[in-house]
């Protein structure tokens, strides 16, 4: 059951991230996708990968994107 909820969260947040007009919100939604994938890795019996994924895709990549958005412009277009 947990994994089905996680899968729905992953796909929804991925789609939401791409239809956001505000790029900062898109960056945060990317983080939600990454963190949910990390939990899914734990379900798939890969705790070591889950740790790396939680740190890299759940935290570092959203921060990178947010920094890039801060240095450029916040709204799309």
């Amino acid at each position: 059951m947990l994994e089905i909820i996680l899968c729905i969260v992953i796909i929804l947040s991925a789609i939401l991230a791409l239809i956001q007009k505000d790029l900062l919100k898109a960056a945060i939604l990317t983080g939600i996708t990454g963190a949910s994938v990390a939990v899914l890795f734990q379900v798939l019996l890969a705790p070591d990968v889950a740790l790396t994924q939680a740190i890299v895709e759940g935290a570092i990549i959203p921060i990178f994107i947010a920094l890039a958005v801060k240095k450029t412009q916040r709204s799309e277009g």
């Binding site: 791409l18 070591d48 994107i65 450029t72």
Partner: protein, 128 residues
Amino acid sequence: MAQVQLVILLTSVALVVIGFYSAIFIDNIIKKIIGISFIEEGVNLFIVAIGYKAGGVVPILMPGMDTSWFASNAAYPLPFGLVLTSIVIGASTLAVMLALVMVLYRRYGTLSTKVMLADTSKREEYDE
């Protein structure tokens, strides 16, 4: 095939498709890059799902475990090792791309790829 594995494989395919759509059709370069990170995530999820074994255990041999029982029940650990590397590679390429975007934003003042990455050979003819 276990039901869990099937659901997760479908999710990974969906992530790859969403990523492809945004990397090809969306004009904003930051969203293109987010889409590329989704493609990488989807591929990683796919490869980890290969190694999954329904009802298995985490492939770490704790002291006191029976080795033959462990060998027949543990998940296949090779894909997990590959994905560890692949996650880090994805993060580093993403960082380089964002750095290039920041430099180019200073020159053009926009994030639109139609302006930023227009065909340079045509632009040089305009300059003349």
